[in-house]
Symmetry: C2
C-alpha cells in the first residue's frame, strides 16, 4: 500500500514530528535533517493524507459549489470566476449539480457538510417554497456550527453572504427599451414557475409595462425551462396560441436561442417581424444571427466575488454584494413594422 509518514520517518531516521515539520515548514528544522526527510519522501513516493490532517485541523481547503446545470453557459461562466479565485487561494472546488431539484440541493449541502468543506456556494435562483427555505435555513445553521461559510450566488433567500445581480432592474430596463422603440404588445418567455429568478424578471417586465401605461396581457406570458428546449417549447406554444405581438423578451439567453430557432423555422424574420431580447449575455449571444440584444449579467464577476466571500476571514456579519446589470443592444431588436 501507499507510504505513510512513519515510513518516511523510519527511512530518514527521524521522528514523526520532524517529518511533519518538514512538510508543513512551520517550524525550524536543521537543513541536513530536512534534506534527508525530503529524499525519503521522494524515494517512497509519499503523498500525505489530507484526511488525517482534516481530522485534526478541521479544515480542508475545499469549497463546495452547488449549481443547477453544468452545461448551462450561465453556470459555466460563474464557475470560471469561482475557480479563478479558488486557484489564487489554493482552494479546491467540488461541483455538485442539483438539476434544479431542491431536495438534491439539501442532500448535497449535507454531503458537503460531512466532508467538512470550508464553505458552500449555492449558485442560481431558488424555489420559493416554505419547506425548502426551512430546510435551507437549517443547513445554513449546520454549516455555521462547523465554522463553514455559506454563500448565495445569485439570490439571498436566507441569512447568508450573498452576491446578487439586479434582476428586476435589468428586466425593467430591457422591457422599457422595447417600449421606447414603439413596441406595445411584448411577449415574455418566462422561466419555470416558483423560481426567484423567474419572478424577479417577470416583475421587471410588468413594472416597465405599467410605467409605460401599456397593457400586460396574460396571454403574452408563457413559462418554460431556462434551457434552449424550454425556449423552443415556450415560443412554439406562444405562436400556436395565435397571440399577437411585435416583440419578445425571453427570461434568459438560452431560451432566446431556442425561440430564435423556432422563429427562423417558421419564416418569421428577426428583428423585422418580431424583435427578440434575452437576458444574461452569455458568450454565444453575440455569435448567433442576428446577434442578441440582452442584459449583461456579470457572471464571471459574480463567481469571483462569491469565492472571495467564501475564503474571506470571518468577520461576523453577512455581506451582501449587489452587482449592476447592463443593457446590451445588438441586432435582434428594431422598431415594429409600420402599421402594427
Amino acid at each position: 500500500m501507499s507510504a505513510t509518514m512513519s515510513d518516511v520517518a523510519k527511512r530518514a531516521n527521524v521522528s514523526l514530528a520532524t517529518v511533519s515539520r518538514v512538510i508543513n515548514g512551520n517550524y525550524p528544522v536543521a537543513e541536513s535533517t530536512r534534506e534527508r526527510v525530503l529524499t525519503a519522501i521522494r524515494d517512497l513516493g509519499y503523498v500525505f493524507n489530507a484526511h488525517a490532517r482534516a481530522l485534526i485541523t478541521a479544515t480542508t481547503g475545499i469549497v463546495g459549489v452547488i449549481l443547477h446545470d453544468p452545461s448551462d453557459p450561465y453556470f459555466g461562466e460563474i464557475v470560471r470566476g469561482i475557480q479563478e479565485v479558488a486557484d489564487e487561494h489554493g482552494r479546491f472546488v467540488v461541483l455538485c449539480n442539483s438539476m434544479r431539484d431542491p431536495e438534491r440541493e439539501i442532500i448535497y449541502i449535507e454531503m458537503l457538510r460531512s466532508q467538512r468543506v470550508d464553505a458552500v456556494i449555492l449558485a442560481g435562483g431558488y424555489i420559493e417554497d416554505d419547506e425548502y427555505l426551512r430546510l435551507l435555513a437549517e443547513q445554513a445553521r449546520g454549516l455555521r456550527s462547523h465554522g463553514a461559510r455559506l454563500v448565495m450566488c445569485g439570490h439571498a433567500p436566507v441569512r447568508a453572504h450573498a452576491v446578487v445581480p439586479q434582476n428586476a432592474d435589468g428586466a425593467y430596463r430591457i422591457t422599457t427599451e422595447l417600449l421606447r422603440l414603439g413596441h406595445r404588445r411584448i411577449a415574455h418567455l418566462a422561466g419555470p414557475p416558483r423560481f426567484s429568478t423567474t419572478r424577479e424578471r417577470l416583475r421587471g417586465y410588468h413594472g416597465a409595462l405599467e410605467a409605460y401605461g401599456a397593457t400586460a396581457d396574460p396571454a403574452l406570458v408563457v413559462a418554460g425551462d431556462f434551457t434552449r428546449d424550454g425556449g423552443v417549447r415556450a415560443c412554439t406554444e406562444l405562436l400556436d396560441s395565435g397571440a399577437d405581438f411585435t416583440a419578445m423578451f425571453a427570461a434568459n439567453d438560452m431560451m432566446a436561442v431556442g425561440a430564435l430557432a423556432v422563429l427562423r423555422e417558421r419564416g418569421i424574420a428577426v428583428p423585422e417581424d418580431v424583435s427578440l431580447a434575452g437576458y444574461d449575455d452569455i458568450p454565444v449571444s453575440r455569435d448567433i444571427a442576428p446577434a442578441l440584444t440582452t442584459v449583461n449579467v456579470p457572471m464571471v464577476e459574480m463567481g469571483r466575488q462569491s469565492m472571495r466571500l467564501a475564503v474571506a476571514a470571518d468577520d461576523g456579519d453577512e455581506n451582501v454584494i449587489r452587482l449592476p446589470t447592463e443593457l446590451v443592444i445588438r441586432a435582434s431588436v428594431a422598431p415594429p413594422r409600420a402599421g402594427r
Copy 2:
C-alpha cells in the same frame, strides 16, 4: 462546535459502535434503539465526519476530474456526462482546471492523491512532451498504489483506462467532404502546437488532402488556441497573409465561431465566398448563422463512459473505449464559386 458520534451515543444512551451501525445500516440494530439514535442525531444536527471514515476505509467516494477550461462547452458537455453517472453511483466530483498547463495538471493529480480520491479522470488532449509524460506516468503509478484509478478522457498517452474519440478519422472525413464539394485550397486553423488533439486532427487533414492528390500548402495552416479568440486571431492572421483559399477547416467549433465573426466583419460571405467547417459539434454550432458543418464528437457519452470506467470494479487490465465520430453537414459549406 459540531456534534460528534460520541455526543450522539451519550444522548441516546448507547455505545459508539451502535451509533455507527445505525448510520451505516450494515448491522442489525433493534428498532427501538435505532429510533433513539436517529432522534439524537436529529436533535443534535449531527453530520458524520467523512474524513474520520476515510482514514479508516481508505475510500472517499470522490472522483477528481482535471480539465482544461471550465467555460469551454466541450468540457461542459463532458462534465455533464461525468456528473450524470457520478450521481447514479453516489460519487462526488471534484473539478480542477489546468488551463492547459501541464505543470498544474501534475500538481492537481498530486493534490487529488492526497485527498485519497477513488479515481482521477483526465479530460482533454495532452502535451506531447517527454518530461510531462514521465511525470504523468509516475503519478499514474502513485494513484495505482493508493488503489485509485486513472481514466484518460479524450486521449491515452500512458497506460491507463481511456475513452478516445477518433480524431484523425473525423478530420479526414470532413476534409474529404470539402474536397468532394470541389474545394482544393482548404485552409486549416489548427490548435496549439504540441497538443495531441491538434496533431491528430492535422493528420486527418493532411491524410485527406494526400489521398485526394491535393496540395498541402503550409501557408494555409495557422495555429491558434482552442478558443473563440484563438479562432479570431488565427483567421485574421490567415486573411492578412493574403493566402488564397476557398474553404476553411477549424480544429474545433469555438475557433470556427471566432473565424466566422472575423469573416462576417470583413464582408466575406459563408458559405458563398468561403466554406467553413468546425469540429466537436458543441451545442451552439447549430445556432450560429450559418449553422456550422462539423464533426460530432460524442462528448456527453465520453464523460459517461469515463465515469463508468472510474467507478468500475477493478478487473486488472486497462480498458480503452473507442468512440466513433460523425459528420454533421449544415449550412456553412457549399461548393466553391465557379472559376475558383
